[in-house]
Symmetry: C2
Subunit: 155 residues, 2 copies
């Protein structure tokens, strides 16, 4: 299983950044992964959110060729941790492509990215800050891999 994690801009909160690295390292013991922090739209007025999402979408799109893309959205499909583990194992076995998880920036994902996504996933009905969302995603992917491989979840 090859895993990609894509989002615009580096995770800035120092604690969330440390947690991101912690879970990425844990995942790395079980499967190869790349975290790709694409270009953020800077200097665009926040009154034009679509323009920001569009610009950031262009940066994300370059990395979405030949992958199975899973966008994270409030309105996506919710799963339990066990269902999520079955889902990623199933997609990996069936398709043999890298699984690419895509998380939006501060203003979310461009419509074009969401429309072309192979799957749409929601971590919660609650609206989470986008950097916290990245941490919850990585923790769940680590948890899913421990379920798939029958390993002890290392706290």
């Amino acid at each position: 299983m090859r895993l990609k994690f894509l989002w615009p801009g580096k995770t800035k909160g120092p604690e969330l950044r440390a947690l991101q690295e912690f879970y990425a390292a844990r995942i790395g013991t079980l499967a190869p992964l790349d975290i790709i922090e694409t270009r953020e739209a800077r200097g665009v007025n926040e009154k034009h959110p679509e323009k920001i999402r569009e610009m950031e979408g262009q940066g994300l799109e370059k990395h979405l060729k030949g992958v199975y893309s899973i966008c994270l959205l409030d309105q996506g499909k919710e799963m339990t941790s066990r269902e999520f583990a079955r889902f990623i194992r199933g997609r990996d076995e069936e398709l043999g492509k890298p699984l690419a998880f895509v998380v939006g920036g501060f203003l979310g994902l461009a419509d074009g990215i969401v429309e072309k996504a192979d799957a749409r996933l929601s971590l919660s009905r609650l609206t989470l800050p986008h950097e916290l969302c990245r941490v919850v995603l990585l923790e769940q992917v680590y948890r899913a891999l421990t379920i798939i491989r029958g390993r002890q979840y290392a706290k």
Copy 2:
């Protein structure tokens, strides 16, 4: 609105602890709050999870008199952030009691605490680590207060 947050044991992960303090301080600008970290069951073999939950439940119970208690559980009711804001505003206006959010320890909450709870809330269908759960809860309560008070969400 008076808020209480109750859980057994101090949040140990240094990053999660810092995030807990960050969101508690943010909440504190909008409503008085107490975070009460009750006694953890130590020295009990993990083969006896019910005993651990029971012991920790006794520590929590002391703080649950005269409050409206909201237990966090995987199987609780899910809400959007706006629904959650309406829920806590509604309970506060209707009852005028402190709202006490109760999060379990590593092995979850005692059945007795869950059965006596006034409400059961789920942050996600996913199983989150209990310390991460505390951070997501605090962030959502802060978010809810900004919604209720019509304030800008301070990032």
